[in-house]
Symmetry: C2
Subunit: 341 residues, 2 copies
């Protein structure tokens, strides 16, 4: 068992900087496309043997130090009661967006074992196969709220912010229901065998720090606090985090995941010694020549040296167009230049 990733999460001494990639199981890999050619995306998420298969693909091909459950952040939202569909061009569509008290009342806090058993079964299969730690995950409460209120992706998130400003009581009730769902969902993943959990706050960065701190962050803290009862590292990934780090550092998670739009040296300084850091190469750098990829890996490794611990990652999910050999080159560079001896 390679436990370098778990040690780095906890800030323990490691021989080298561990690395994995957000969306490492995905379309940029022909082995994934072969599986996906036979089933649609949601069926893939809901078929444990297939979900486990694609979760395992990058471990051997890229030689990464952690695996992540293959799933989608909207799976628990479907289980809360919203019809979910994926369109190739438009992305996810959630039917009947929630914008009223009746809508919030209709949502349930799902029992994972009852309504998403396939997620837990995928985890059980993966734990039997893996020689690296398995990360479970969920969308963070705010990010799930944006999908629930907008009904999908959005440009300005106006419906979400309107509810937040115009009906703060209703918005809070919704956030509480989502937070309870997230806690239940990740607790079940941990019980099934997840050895770390990551909260994806993909849309945190559209908020003014004022709103993030006062309205959203209390729910982040309560989710992290509930999950810290288990003996697994909690990772909080905050996309477009540069303006939020001063608040984020109080979240209590073991690891803060950062996007590429903030300098690693600045983030390491701001986050201090209570967290390890995960990140933060621009996914587009994987389209550069290998020498340039190496230079950028070295730059980030160097800047992260002052952090309590560092898990190398991209600053966002790997892009479908990425040449797989460049992802491999990135991992090799991390392992080569991230040695601590």
């Amino acid at each position: 068992m390679n436990d370098t990733f778990l040690k780095a999460c906890r800030g323990e001494k490691v021989d080298y900087t561990p690395v994995w990639l957000m969306r490492q199981a995905g379309r940029y890999m022909k082995e994934y496309q072969e599986v996906r050619a036979k089933v649609d995306f949601l069926t893939l998420c809901k078929t444990p043997e297939l979900a486990a298969k694609v979760s395992l693909q990058p471990i051997d091909i890229l030689d990464v130090d952690a695996a992540i459950l293959f799933s989608d952040i909207l799976i628990p939202v479907e289980a809360m009661g919203m019809p979910l569909a994926f369109h190739d061009k438009k992305g996810p569509i959630l039917g009947d967006p929630v914008r009223t008290k009746a809508g919030v009342d209709r949502l349930v806090i799902p029992d994972t074992e009852d309504s998403m058993p396939f997620v837990l079964e995928t985890i059980r299969i993966l734990r039997q196969e893996l020689k690296v730690p398995l990360i479970g995950f969920s969308g963070a409460p705010w990010t799930l709220a944006t999908y629930i209120i907008e009904g999908g992706s959005s440009k300005n998130f106006l419906h979400t912010k309107k509810m937040m400003y115009q009906n703060p009581g209703l918005f809070k009730a919704l956030m509480e229901k989502i937070t309870a769902t997230v806690i239940e969902y990740l607790s079940a993943q941990i019980h099934a065998g997840a050895q770390a959990v990551q909260l994806f706050d993909s849309w945190a960065g559209i908020l003014a720090p004022y709103d993030y701190e006062k309205i959203i962050f209390p729910h982040v803290k309560s989710a992290v606090k509930a999950l810290k009862k288990f003996d697994v590292p909690v990772i909080y990934f905050v996309n477009d985090c540069a303006g939020l780090l001063k608040v984020v550092k109080k979240c209590g998670a073991d690891v803060i995941g950062i996007d590429w739009r903030v300098d690693m040296a600045k983030a390491a300084k701001m986050l201090g010694k209570n967290h390890s850091i995960q990140g933060n190469l621009d996914p587009c750098v994987l389209f550069a020549p290998k020498e340039h990829i190496e230079d950028r890996v070295k730059d980030i490794l160097f800047k992260a040296e002052t952090a309590r611990g560092h898990i190398f990652n991209l600053g966002h999910g790997i892009l479908p167009e990425t040449p797989v050999e460049n992802a491999i080159a990135m991992v090799e560079a991390v392992h080569k230049y991230g040695r601590r001896d």
Copy 2:
């Protein structure tokens, strides 16, 4: 002549904090929609009497302290040689995106008087009518480059970053051509009567600070330096700037415009005493109850007190759905709570 805006740009003493709104001439105003109902968007931009008319509308209706030329950031790109069209849903489309040396070579550095005389005529009309200062504007070089390379808006800006990483020499040649265009275009606007100029770097925030500093920022500095030869304030608006302020502060502009995703107190502290600051209310706050809008205005005014000078603005363009009475309430709140006596 109300010169409060110009004084605040220069960091001189003012009686109150001046305010204007990005996209203050726009769809949220029925007077604008009446004009727009008769002509398409590009015709409106290119008809000086109409462009001047809509530029003037918000001055009386909102009681703002500055006017901005009504135009589009892609007007000079069309003049560089790219066919431009606006689609109601897809946004701007530039034909024949530039991704090769032949494409870069084909672009011209347009003479504004020859190829965009309507812009200069709009400015001349406005100067005769206005009792507040007139701001001219252009897209910043990087932001224009993204449109030129992508051919429109983009999700990941992959074509742009690919050129940047894979063909740095070609990318630099393109940036130099765009920068020369921006300088010529804004110089002509100043000669025609613009009393301040704003560079919109709407897509700066998609860059890693590493790339922004090394590849993009030299062009920003050279544009600002060239424009500083004239006796008008230069405003550099950087969208999603939180991770870039450490670099941005060296740009030499009189005013740094910031988006809403960074705390004003932090920005004021980081930018120091060489610049005034413009910003930074989340445009979505204009959908909140008026008491909440007031609270947020007061918060920003208070946090900006340590800045050399402050021009209140939104952190991005006003949204088309905004209730006009809320925009008026925001301006009133700035004038009421921003008094300096």
